[in-house]
Symmetry: D2
Amino acid sequence: MTDLQAILDGIYTELKPRIGEGRVADYIPDLAKVDPNQFGLTVTTVDGKIYSVGDSAVPFSIQSISKVFMLTLALGKVGEQLWKRVGREPSGSAFNSIVQLEEESGIPRNPFINAGAIAVTDVVISGHAPREAIGELLRFVRYLSDDDGVTIDGRVAKSETHTGFRNFALANFMKAYGNLEHPVEHVLGVYFHQCALSMTCEQLAKAGLFLAARGSNPVAGLSVVSPKRARRINALMLTCGHYDGSGDFAYHVGLPGKSGVGGGIFAVAPGIASMAVWSPGLNKVGNSQLGAVALEMLAARTGWSVFGD
Amino acid sequence: MTDLQAILDGIYTELKPRIGEGRVADYIPDLAKVDPNQFGLTVTTVDGKIYSVGDSAVPFSIQSISKVFMLTLALGKVGEQLWKRVGREPSGSAFNSIVQLEEESGIPRNPFINAGAIAVTDVVISGHAPREAIGELLRFVRYLSDDDGVTIDGRVAKSETHTGFRNFALANFMKAYGNLEHPVEHVLGVYFHQCALSMTCEQLAKAGLFLAARGSNPVAGLSVVSPKRARRINALMLTCGHYDGSGDFAYHVGLPGKSGVGGGIFAVAPGIASMAVWSPGLNKVGNSQLGAVALEMLAARTGWSVFGD
Amino acid sequence: MTDLQAILDGIYTELKPRIGEGRVADYIPDLAKVDPNQFGLTVTTVDGKIYSVGDSAVPFSIQSISKVFMLTLALGKVGEQLWKRVGREPSGSAFNSIVQLEEESGIPRNPFINAGAIAVTDVVISGHAPREAIGELLRFVRYLSDDDGVTIDGRVAKSETHTGFRNFALANFMKAYGNLEHPVEHVLGVYFHQCALSMTCEQLAKAGLFLAARGSNPVAGLSVVSPKRARRINALMLTCGHYDGSGDFAYHVGLPGKSGVGGGIFAVAPGIASMAVWSPGLNKVGNSQLGAVALEMLAARTGWSVFGD
Amino acid sequence: MTDLQAILDGIYTELKPRIGEGRVADYIPDLAKVDPNQFGLTVTTVDGKIYSVGDSAVPFSIQSISKVFMLTLALGKVGEQLWKRVGREPSGSAFNSIVQLEEESGIPRNPFINAGAIAVTDVVISGHAPREAIGELLRFVRYLSDDDGVTIDGRVAKSETHTGFRNFALANFMKAYGNLEHPVEHVLGVYFHQCALSMTCEQLAKAGLFLAARGSNPVAGLSVVSPKRARRINALMLTCGHYDGSGDFAYHVGLPGKSGVGGGIFAVAPGIASMAVWSPGLNKVGNSQLGAVALEMLAARTGWSVFGD
């Protein structure tokens, strides 16, 4: 698939003049400092090839994309029992809405809105000290990406702790409804650290390749989840992966994906490839502006949309 | 693909003891009278083959599935301008919620909730008398299914008119916000008639085949929409096609689809096949109970899920 | 109480330079044509005296103030059974919110928001043709004000019918929940006519005097409602009489009252007096701007606030 | 007014067989232990007389009634500027709803719902250590009631701290919107202690007498607030004092009042008397069941309703 590198190069050339577009997230102080003039894109195919352009080797804060890995761990621990604690429906409202939570008595709508991810984290913690839960996640992601260079950025984690009042509100709210087993501070401690995972496009694309490859990691050669579970995680990403912009992403890109406010987007072409794009400037629904454009171009030129070529 | 008939036969044999499960919709008097002990399933492949089991030749009220055809007509008329009148995001609430509409100032969340479909109908009417708009839809569906036997059940349409207070509320509400061009009575007259389309599984699977076949109807041999538009309609079905059960359907079945309270579900395996299933008993989110089960079995056994095999 | 005329004169003199402030309601075409440079105020005391200033003899559209008289009729018909159809709590949202109605399954929060008043009208219609129900209200108001000059402005009623989509939405919505006995068109026909009652400040103050006088009309000399019912209607006016500005009116004026978008406000000083003020320009919560100011001045200078002198 | 004692005795005799009705609040562990078979009622008149029946000398946890005293302190500190931080409209929803807060961007609807009271507490803290703010409140209430026996129940305060997840959610939520100046833990520390004020009916009726007496405390002989501010606090109690039961209380009792989940209700007959009733069993909207009944009887028999005699 030599064409693939050509496609990536073409996308990069076209988007180069636009690098810097969008608005860097400013509600987490340490993210606000990131240089917006960066763009990286990596595609890893199920046969193990890697294609990259731009700043694909620069680490960035993956933020909410970490929810995909945490969800995978939680499903591994409790299986379909997880759905007693969190729903599977798109939320129809902003990523940190508390209204939804009140209307549904403390059960978050899906595992990718903040409240849902906090509940998922609570499940992963089970039987662990907070520090161990973070360690488990870090080991898991390093294993998946086959790269011990993946780290957690302590300053970003701390930065979130200090400004994360809304997440404290969500967590306390779920606690009030009995949908949080561990102390709020423990759960959020882990949550803020998971969001502070620092990865490059290359590491991220490789780490998620198992979702494109029937649940197995062709790089590491081992099964991570069953084919059925891989499909289901992909389904959740497609319907719920971009907050209130999920419908729009499906409409324009047509791939299961998960975005983060650090400007990264991870996406999957089932049976074909996984990919990670990063550009810090966000569009008005909070997803990487150029990242979404790049994936729309990539899906159109490859015919990878799950909705038809 | 002789296996396909065997798969359908297997599903039918397994589900036969469960036929009659679920609860027939009772809020439309004429639908409440339907015999629940029926089940039909048809698959049409992009190479023009047709596979059926059970009551696949019995006409039923397709209800909300008609929204897919009306959306296709509306996009043909005004193109992407349509999205000024209606959104593209999953709704996160019941199919006939008026709350959403108030919060978003009369712009329905997507074209598949009732309010959105009413706005779409208003677009299709444009420049027509109501009777002509219904005629246009009927001709379109007959053309797509290559079958002049498709009819509109006048009694069902009338039955809805008399009990459709909530739809009258939705339409008047949009009118109050200036998001309805024609008189409420005209728009709902067309809307109730479109929902009363009476089709068999075979007719329905054939009518929607263009969505599996890059926008062209391999049976009739002509382009209906562009490949891009076909993908986009599929994306809307996947994220919004089953009201507040859309996430669940994506999770379990993994195919773009649209359900109706008459107990029908239409679904698409892009590039491969279109399919229609019908069984009147509904599950608690208002979709055909056995229909959803049958499609889950079908997707699992064929590996057609868009999220991986 | 010779001072009372002096107080009214003083208020009029002070407010004269401000007459014309606020914004005339424009959503009902016929109201939008009213000259904003008008101001009238009448106080009737329980000993039968009448004090007036300004345009107190000019008829205006009383709009929502009519809900007080309709509520009185409905309580006369079904007594406390009325509260099965409508609540008694302040609404915490705009006067025509449909959200509330969905959350509470078709039971309006109180009889003074539009939905509640529509339900009250449905109760009054019971056993009547629409025309008779309007006739009953007109006779009642003429009797209370001891003045056959009270009329209904047909053009205003018709004007509302044509633009009242939101009220049609509310009514159909309640109908969907089974909380409307008569056909939507009948109920709204009566509702739009009641809102089109045309009265002067003098007629209005006299018509509501029974609420200040233990339920009896000292002018006509007869009991209208029991003392207990008069208190209760006053309580409803105080907590719910000004839509989402009810708390503000209680805070600043301290009298039970009911406002209308025609710029009128009716208020009661229990045991002392009833009063009506009119000035067409509205403030941002939809109540007469100068009317509210005038009543605040009046309550302050007379010590009539129910919350202390 | 020798009759007053007779009226109280009569009410007590009639209600005696019903003592124990309702359900003791159980969400705060230490309140759940209170013996439900208690009932006390005290009336203090503006001429300094005190009338009591039943357990009027037994201290109970005044809970939300403390919000009236805290509001008085806050208005004393920042005056009408307070209304930039909190609204003055009835809430139309449960006392601890977070939905409202999100819809109105962190500005609570009124000072008597929990979020509003937390904002008020934040204002009172200003320039204080938490401990000092509690001390100030305690001194204020002791001064008002002319009784140094008023205490704060540390166990109740601690009990709330441990289960007050919803209040932590509300406070963090306001903090996220910038509507909380001090650290969440400090504000809630004070808040939980103010709710743990332990007072008898006699102390409470005396402490609030200034609200019936044009802002002055006839017992202590000094002005507490201006007559205008007393009226305004009374107005807030009438429209917002009983959460989602405020309209009902106005309808049945007709007096400004504030209830607490400890089973106490404080009420004011402006110009005449203040009163406190206590009975631990709550009705379904969370107010003292017998307390509300007793006040309805008292208002009916004395003619003290602000809405007419």
